[in-house]
């Protein structure tokens, strides 16, 4: 008896890719169909202008969703007036473009407005097996649903608007497996930062990452979005997690999710979206969940990651160009090698962003802040990822916990993650941030950013220093 011929095992990425190839040239360059195109005000005006100049239309307006997020103030009154003239012009340009080209739109006055990568999943636009693009590198977030999602430049935004396709060559496959269980106080953010710490910011360049393993399976959808969100900080354009019952449960009933027979048909296909046994990965990285600690960044690259129990490293402990880069980082960050991370005092705390601006993130921070106060002299800001997250947090009593602790409770947007709006650090100010980039000047010129989880940021707010959240959790247990 001979075995029946079997198809070549495919990765999840292979399967989604294959389902979207419109055309393939001899050299392997493909035209890839795009199911969802998310648009925001900063990287789209030149693309719409390009369409106007060439007399082109948006090919699939029903697949195109726009929301202003990067530039919008997070204070009251923004729906009637934006003070900064350039920001106002950009938001008004998006209003006009959305109307002129007939695309779905959530203006600032709409409670559904928020960070594009939070709005997409929340409204059910993001579904498993889709291709999703946006003129924003954190589009990788949507990979948590088993969607192939990545950032593009403005020229490509125009290309997708005009053709609903992208010209692409296939990336390589990379597997990042997190085995076992996470320890108490360790979160999705600690996973994703630890992976970047292990692989470096170019470790995933040219690859699409599939995250897998027990610790990933155990994460909620919110946690999975946090992990995939920072695939780009590891150099990978896209991160993926195979959809499962948690994914389906999250998607079901969302405004733009399929219903009835369409749901059943979709579900049948979604259940085929996993990496086949024996499929080839070009690169494999494995971390043990038990080995991951609550981490913070100390430098100006997301790869500058250490457990909170560590010390600021000496530049000489690195090799190659990283020695000079680390020296520059320490100088910028105002840190001295050998300083215990827990001895670093902070001036500000930012909780929000497409990395950690979802309801679960706010719950985790509020859990630590409940019954506590922000340390004297520390400025704290919570910026929910969407108007709906904000409303839910108010319903759950989280908003009151933040306000009682001394935090500012803001309206939804990208805010101090990239500080395009008025929410900025002052020169030299040091911030415990739940966002995704600690680059020089990212949160304001001269501002110093330490990346960490929402619980860790809350802990830092309470003590006024970078803090191991487990020490506060232990205190809770002790007094319980």
């Amino acid at each position: 008896m001979t075995d029946a011929p079997t198809a070549t095992p495919k990765t999840l990425y292979d399967k989604i890719w294959d389902a979207h190839v419109v055309d393939r040239s001899e050299d392997g360059t493909c035209l890839l169909y795009i199911d969802r195109h998310l648009v925001h005000e900063v990287t789209s005006p030149q693309a719409f202008e390009g369409l106007r100049m060439t007399g082109r239309k948006v090919r699939a307006p029903d697949r195109t969703i726009a929301v202003p997020d990067h530039n919008v103030p997070t204070t009251a009154g923004r729906d009637t007036h934006i003070e900064n003239e350039e920001s106002r012009i950009q938001v008004e340009a998006l209003d006009t473009n959305a109307r002129d080209f007939g695309i779905h739109y959530y203006p600032v006055s709409d409670i559904r407005q928020g960070i594009v990568h939070i709005v997409g999943p929340e409204q059910g636009w993001t579904l498993p097996g889709m291709t999703v693009v946006c003129g924003d590198s954190h589009t990788a977030t949507h990979g948590a649903f088993g969607a192939l999602a990545h950032g593009i430049g403005t020229s490509e935004v125009e290309h997708v608007l005009a053709t609903q396709t992208l010209i692409q060559k296939k990336s390589k496959n990379m597997k990042v497996e997190i085995t076992g269980k996470l320890r108490p106080g360790v979160t999705a953010k600690d996973i994703t930062l630890s992976v970047i710490g292990a692989t470096g910011t170019a470790g995933g360049t040219g690859h699409v990452i599939e995250y897998c393993g027990e610790a990933i399976r155990d994460l909620s959808m919110e946690g999975r979005m946090t992990v995939c969100n920072m695939a780009i900080e590891g150099g990978a354009r896209a991160g993926l997690i195979a959809p499962d019952e948690k994914t389906f449960a999250y998607v079901m009933g969302r405004p733009h999710a399929p219903k009835g027979a369409a749901w059943e048909a979709a579900l049948a296909w979604w259940k085929t979206l996993y990496t086949d046994e024996g499929a080839h990965f070009d690169k494999v990285v494995t971390l043990r969940g038990e080995d991951i600690a609550p981490v913070v960044t100390w430098g100006t690259s997301p790869e500058d990651v250490l457990p909170i129990t560590g010390e600021v490293p000496a530049p000489e402990s690195f090799t190659g160009g990283k020695v000079e880069a680390a020296r520059r980082s320490l100088d910028y960050m105002g840190l001295t090698a050998g300083t215990k991370l827990t001895d670093i005092a902070i001036d500000a705390v930012f909780i929000g962003s497409c990395t950690n601006g979802r309801i679960e993130d706010l719950r985790a921070a509020a859990e630590i802040l409940k019954g506590r106060r922000i340390a004297p002299g520390v400025r704290g800001m919570v910026v929910p990822g969407s108007g709906l997250v904000r409303a839910q947090a108010e319903d759950e009593g989280l908003a009151q916990i933040f306000i009682d602790a001394g935090f500012e409770w803001r309206l939804a947007g990208c805010s101090m993650c990239l500080a395009m709006n008025p929410d900025q650090l002052r020169p030299g100010e040091r911030c415990a941030a739940t966002s995704n980039r600690n680059f020089e000047g990212r949160q304001g010129r001269g501002g110093r950013t330490h990346l960490m989880s929402p619980a860790m940021a809350a802990a830092a707010a309470v003590t006024g220093r970078l803090t191991d959240v487990r020490t506060l959790m232990a205190a809770e247990t002790a007094t319980a």
Partner: protein, 201 residues
């Protein structure tokens, strides 16, 4: 988009690794609705003091490099944000080629859409060209896209790889959208098929 064929010019050395797109063009300059005019703010926070005066040590402020058309950079150039304002700013300043050991994917792709050639070379070759670049106007570097070589002032040639389709578009200054629209019937038939196979999308 302007064609890129060959270029001979001064190269500015920027050995720092992980130069990110926030460094190339800080976010306050992303509020424009134009593509042009960003050159004056290229590397803004490395190039100017808060009062707007130039930081003399910064490479592009040095007389030898004010007219640089090439940058020789440390590993992983262009990481971070997808902002196409980064290549727009480079181009507006006059940079047509960046040479490094590696580039972040999105930035790399964005360069080709704007007539900028990103060249990946092995560490030894980048180190040699970095030394060359340190000689300023005394060491001009030649980049030849057709023949896929970079030649230093010592006459040593370094071959580089480039995707054939991207090369073709850059050599001829072709508009991607125009090329894709020639395949509109393939897009039409894909959509018809997808409406059957994945009607929920």
């Amino acid at each position: 988009m302007d064609k890129f064929t060959t270029l001979t010019g001064v190269a500015a050395p920027m050995p720092l690794v992980n130069i990110d797109t926030d460094m190339i063009i800080p976010k306050q300059f992303l509020k424009t609705i134009q593509r042009s005019g960003l050159g004056k703010n290229l590397f803004d926070e490395m190039r100017y003091n808060p009062d707007g005066s130039e930081i003399p040590d910064f490479v592009l402020n040095q007389p030898a490099y004010r007219q640089a058309q090439i940058i020789v950079a440390g590993d992983n150039f262009g990481c971070g944000s997808s902002r196409e304002h980064a290549p727009w700013a480079l181009l507006d300043f006059g940079i047509r080629c960046v040479i490094s050991t590696s580039f972040a994917d999105i930035f790399y792709n964005n360069c080709f859409k704007n007539g900028i050639l990103p060249v990946v070379l092995p560490p030894e070759a980048v180190a040699a060209l970095m030394e060359d670049a340190r000689n300023g106007a005394n060491a001009r570097i030649t980049v030849d896209l057709e023949n896929q070589t970079v030649t230093g002032s010592d006459g040593r040639s370094h071959a580089f790889e480039v995707d054939p389709f991207k090369k073709h578009c850059l050599l001829n200054g072709l508009d991607d959208i125009g090329l894709t629209l020639e395949k509109v019937s393939a897009i039409d038939s894909y959509e018809t098929h997808a409406a059957q196979s994945r009607p929920w999308v």
